[in-house]
């Protein structure tokens, strides 16, 4: 169980995340939605301490995460794997090595400098790749793969950490719809079959509705909605995305990647030069 208490992050005068209090039981698949700049990313990055909180606390199964340092902090990071929007693989290394790097926290510094991974680890890595349908790419350089494939390699790397918690920061924002579906299916499979808690930042509402058990919506750094997807009404959605009046009607699909470009839709006319 993950508990956040009054978690706050300030960047100078700006408050990115403000007094967030949440409890996430083990095994849930949670979608965090909201506009760009609502604080979703910062919230997620505080959980594995890529950002240090300015205030409040994070407790995971009794372990206070916000004060961890050094080796303890690295141990915690290996327990909560992270998936990034831009995959964050090492482009010049082959896929198998990238996946094996998920084990890096288990290795002592000196031996780890020479790519010495055990046979068991290699087997584990190949199984992870096989599960994500990428075993035949194992020896290719990571940067020769498509975006969707790279994201699945990143998921395989995350699985190598044998995490208790999986954080995904906009995992499908750079992907085409088909690859996006594959990645989201993989995340849900990990959640359902391995019982790993998944917290996923999404800016497309339909994806969140389709895949998540629970939706948390953020607006200006605060949690403004926290319930099952079905409880998310039109009014709430309008508030989250900051649509003031309903003159043309707010369509939920407009938050989706696929909704923006419709054939035949008029281009937004540019305001006159002043």
């Amino acid at each position: 169980m993950l508990e956040l208490r009054n978690l706050t992050k300030r960047f100078g005068p700006a408050t990115a995340v403000s007094e967030v209090t949440l409890t996430i039981p083990a095994g849930q698949m949670v979608g965090v939605i909201g506009r760009s700049g609502a604080g979703k990313s910062t919230l997620l990055r505080m959980l594995n301490r890529l950002e240090d909180p300015s205030g409040g606390g994070i407790v995971f199964n009794g372990l206070s995460v916000d004060g961890l340092k050094g080796r303890e902090l690295r141990r915690w990071r290996s327990r909560c794997a992270m998936i990034f929007q831009q995959f964050n693989l090492v482009p010049r290394l082959d896929v198998l090595t990238n996946v094996l790097l998920g084990r890096i926290a288990e290795h002592r510094t000196l031996p780890s400098l020479f790519k010495r991974f055990s046979d068991a680890e290699r087997t584990m890595a190949m199984l992870a790749l096989e599960r994500l349908d990428l075993a035949d790419k194992a020896l290719q350089r990571a940067d020769t793969l498509s975006g969707g494939q790279q994201q699945r390699v990143a998921i395989a790397r995350a699985m190598m950490q044998q995490p208790e918690l999986l954080l995904a920061d906009e995992p499908i924002a750079s992907l085409d719809p088909r690859s996006a579906a594959k990645v989201m299916d993989a995340l849900r499979a990990i959640n359902r079959e391995d019982g790993i808690t998944v917290i996923c930042n999404l800016h497309t509402l339909d994806t969140a509705r389709q895949y998540c058990d629970r939706i948390i919506a953020m607006f200006h750094g605060q949690v403004v909605f926290d319930d099952v997807p079905d409880a998310l009404t039109r009014d709430t959605v309008r508030r989250i995305y900051g649509v003031e009046d309903d003159a043309e009607g707010f369509r939920e699909e407009l938050t989706s990647n696929s909704g923006w470009l419709r054939p035949g839709a008029p281009l937004a006319h540019s305001p006159a030069l002043v």
């Binding site: 990071r77 290996s78 090492v90 790097l101 990143a154």
Partner: protein, 293 residues
């Protein structure tokens, strides 16, 4: 220099006016920049006593010296003349070999130091402020003190011979390559670094797996270039008794053994050219390699 112009009447007057203002501002910046450049140039020429008349006056004397150091080669007895010119060849080749080995060892040592230092001296990777400061300043000291000065110090400490030269070149290489390496490391893509940190890697592991694969081609290329430079440096460090062929060259210059000077310079040029060609081959081989890391 080309400049953007807009046709009057093609846009609202206000837009045109603002555009003109911005353009005038840019023009002013350019003019000020050129003026500063010209001023610096004039000052440098004055301080350096750089004048065309002096060059015109002295140029013929260069020719004179070159003629003086060239031997007399006759077609009828070319072989004998060459043998006379290069009478010291066996000894000189041994000294050249020593020179190249000095450069080689110094490049290895210097590069090792540069690699260790550069991660601390790259502001995006350094573990903390003090480490950054210390690394930057030591690399600066290592490269700004001329290698001849280091050579003199080490000759004083360790005596005449190649050891002093090797150490002098190694220290200078460490400083020069360290700065270039740090700059290469500052230009990397930071996403893999974040990926490694998020997987629980410590600093050393992050450098090894997220940074080294990205910078290795750059490092290899710089190092080969540094080796070329070091061969040249090793050839002159003998001037102060720090080993290599320079000792022989400075003796020939001082004692006015004119033909020896031309023979030695020719040999040095040939050696540097060979090293140059060799390094180019190796560099191409490296760049072609896929999984260098």
């Amino acid at each position: 220099m080309s400049e953007h112009t807009l046709k009057p009447g093609s846009l609202p007057a206000e837009v045109l006016a603002r555009f003109d203002r911005l353009r005038a501002e840019r023009r002013r910046t350019t003019v000020i920049g050129l003026a500063i450049f010209a001023l610096c140039f004039a000052a440098a020429a004055w301080v350096g006593e750089f004048s065309l008349s002096r060059i015109a006056e002295g140029a013929p004397r260069i020719h004179e010296y070159i003629v003086k150091i060239l031997p007399e080669l006759r077609v009828s007895q070319f072989g004998e003349d060459m043998a006379y010119w290069f009478y010291g060849l066996p000894q000189w080749l041994a000294l050249l070999w020593e020179t190249v080995l000095m450069a080689y060892l110094a490049t290895l040592l210097g590069t090792l130091g540069a690699v260790l230092g550069c991660f601390f001296a790259a502001h995006n990777l350094t573990p903390n402020g003090p480490a950054y400061f210390v690394a930057r300043r030591s690399l600066e000291v290592a490269r700004t003190i001329p290698d001849l000065v280091y050579a003199l110090i080490f000759v004083f400490a360790f005596g005449l011979g190649p050891l002093a030269g090797i150490l002098a070149i190694a220290i200078h290489s460490m400083g020069a390559s360290g700065k270039l390496f740090a700059e290469a490391a500052e230009n990397i893509d930071m996403k893999p670094v974040e990926g490694l940190r998020a997987a629980g890697a410590n600093w050393v592991q992050t450098m090894r797996y997220a940074v080294v694969p990205q910078v290795l081609p750059n490092f290899a290329s710089y190092t080969l270039w540094r080796f070329e430079l070091n061969v040249r440096t090793a050839a002159v460090l003998g001037f102060v008794g720090a080993g290599g062929i320079g000792q022989e060259l400075i003796t020939a210059i001082r004692m006015l053994y004119y033909e020896d000077v031309s023979a030695l310079v020719l040999l040095i040029v040939l050696t540097v050219t060979c090293i140059d060609l060799l390094c180019e081959k190796v560099r191409h081989h490296f760049i072609g390699k896929e999984n260098l890391a």
